[in-house]
Point group: C2
């Protein structure tokens, strides 16, 4: 097991009707900016319920809607202006990963200080930690289970075609309200993308090489088993509370730092897929599903021991040569994605070989030249992955 440090101070308030805890969780004298996305929070009535809860104490509430999927720097800076102008002192995200990520950026950028006017520096690629020492406190009300942003301190922010991962312990949400019922109205496709996103978050922290992190492996496998059990059901029966509750909790536990603590991590699938989103507008979950099988096929030597463990423990595959079992496990994974209505080929996304040069060039531009758990995945290997994902 690798050495690690684990610290996650976010309070999770989970279950039916938990929205009513908002009045307890947000300081009663706060000046709150409620941030949301494209309008579904309004249509479904969640936004009104949030405002009713906040109104129970003497809070001043401002609103900022219109945070797009893959939230853009330019959009978020408009919210930063409101925060500064209105002296907002608490941020509340109502939405999915994009809104939560966006609010984390706002929390870091909005404080007056060295970054005023230079907020773009927060997005300098390759910066592991944002060098600011304060952030506004934030909370979240989750309406889309997928990114795990509700219980971690990372965010993915776009600036034009650049997607940048930022991380700071300052932006762990103070609380996140996870009421599975708030997600019942989601379109099928978004739920499916959430299942895939969570699945891939888990395997990015699992499908590497063995380090005797036995408990970490078991926890990761536990999330995968659960996703496989509930994934189809929660898409087809969106109002089945228990299936959705398990998906929501899987999404949170898949990327809150726990299963990756003490384990090597990959993230190559994410990095390549980010370029598909930036260059071709591919939804995050769809990009992941198209790239993952290619990564596993190209990297089956480096990942062999864990692929075989996965084959046996997740899919009960014990017969055949190593290569055969690995290929069977990859096929089973693709079948699982297909069963959710998610395709697993770049051609399904309309991305042909003629685009591979540009994708690889974009990886290089973003410094993604030594990917994967051992840092040995060069742009040439990424190109092989694209080839294998045609």
């Amino acid at each position: 097991m690798l050495n690690f440090s684990f610290h996650n101070p976010t309070r999770i308030v989970f279950g039916k009707g938990q929205l009513q805890e908002l009045d307890t969780l947000v300081p009663s004298d706060a000046r709150v900016l409620v941030t949301y996305g494209g309008g579904s929070a309004k249509r479904t009535g969640v936004l009104d319920r949030v405002k009713r809860e906040l109104a129970k104490s003497g809070r001043v509430v401002f609103e900022f809607g219109g945070v797009e999927p893959n939230p853009q720097f330019a959009t978020l800076m408009k919210a930063v202006e409101i925060v500064r102008k209105e002296n907002v002192d608490f941020l509340l995200a109502v939405g999915g990963g994009s809104v939560m990520d966006g609010v984390k950026f706002i929390a870091l950028a909005a404080r007056p200080g060295e970054f005023m006017g230079r907020e773009l520096e927060l997005l300098k690629p390759g910066r592991p930690q944002v060098p600011v020492d304060t952030a506004l406190p934030l909370g979240t009300v989750v309406t889309l289970p997928a990114t795990g942003s509700e219980m971690n301190c990372g965010a993915v922010i776009s600036n034009g075609e650049d997607k940048v991962v930022i991380k700071s312990p300052l932006v762990f949400p103070r609380f996140s309200i996870l009421d599975p019922e708030l997600t019942f109205t989601l379109p099928e496709k978004q739920v499916a993308n959430g299942v895939v996103d969570t699945f891939v978050h888990v395997v990015e922290q699992y499908m590497t090489y063995p380090v005797e992190g036995r408990l970490q492996d078991r926890f990761a496998e536990g999330i995968l088993h659960t996703l496989i059990e509930v994934g189809g059901k929660t898409i087809n029966e969106p109002a089945d509370y228990d299936a959705r509750a398990n998906l929501v909790w899987c999404a949170t536990m898949g990327l809150n730092g726990l299963i990756g603590a003490g384990a090597p991590q990959d993230w190559a699938t994410h990095m390549i897929s980010h370029e598909l989103t930036a260059l071709h507008g591919v939804p995050h979950g769809r990009g992941l599903a198209a790239i993952l099988p290619g990564v596993w096929r190209v990297r089956k030597e480096q990942k062999g021991a864990k692929l075989l463990q996965y084959a046996e423990r997740i899919w009960n595959i014990v017969d055949g040569s190593d290569d055969e079992r690995i290929e069977q496990a990859i096929l089973k994974t693709e079948e699982f994605f297909h069963g959710l209505g998610v395709k697993t080929r770049l051609s399904d996304l309309g991305i042909g070989e003629e685009h591979f040069d540009a994708i690889v060039a974009s990886l290089e531009k973003h410094g993604m030249t030594a990917l994967s758990e051992r840092g040995d995945m060069t742009p040439e290997v990424s190109r092989q992955v694209l080839q294998a994902s045609r």
Copy 2:
């Protein structure tokens, strides 16, 4: 899945050589009371290493040794006096569950205020939450993996023959250093007790009735699998780093609130076993091993669905009637304990039927008259458990 709230702000610093992080983790101007147990921290040199780390900045360090297993109120009050006299403002526990639990009590009792002179009120039985609003900050250096106290806010404190569970979010450790190498010198028996203690912590939160907490079940099963894999090895090869590291991490994850969040909880085995410790001086782990099989046999109807799930997922038992599979699973569990050198009968502990009246009376005295996940376990049922555990 049941509604839940989960919040665990303890920072875990895990791995080889992590003791050197102490200087970063403890405030540099702190007046620190280092608390330890019967002297093994001194003998093994851990205490000296701790003091060397603390001396790297200008801290004033006091010592309090001699916290006994099942720490006594009277002993801890001596430490409280030192804290008050010397204006100690940070508490550091170096040891196992007893020392950590003891320090949590000290943290709550030592603050001047309404409780001065009335500290015994903190131990009023049946009080779910200690009604104080401040506590001294504390950290831990763990030398015995078992109780999970390093990442939770509970403590078990004894006052004579009374064992009382206290809980307060104020006493989550600020940090816990878990270096598996610090535990290599532990006697075999204590390691075995730690394996059993962790195992029973997990099943207290798992072996109840199904609530569609699929992920919680998987996580609990993951800990059980890991304990079964590494338990014997880490006793027989105490310096095998990876086996011990997995035990240490299992012990922490077994009782940090995660696997029980959203799930019903039992704790009857613990409550009965606390009486064995109080009345007969039985080590905690040994008492648990003697009571657990009896609880499962007497409560096999109430726990049937989960016992069958456990039989299949943990022990691969799929043939036979329900009763047969359940009995096989219980026998397998007993075999596992025996393999660790831990007996599973009250007679092995020298406790005959003639003591059962007193044990049941003690449960009644402590208000333990409606135990278990449904509160339907009367003293009469506890007596049946004792009978089944002869």
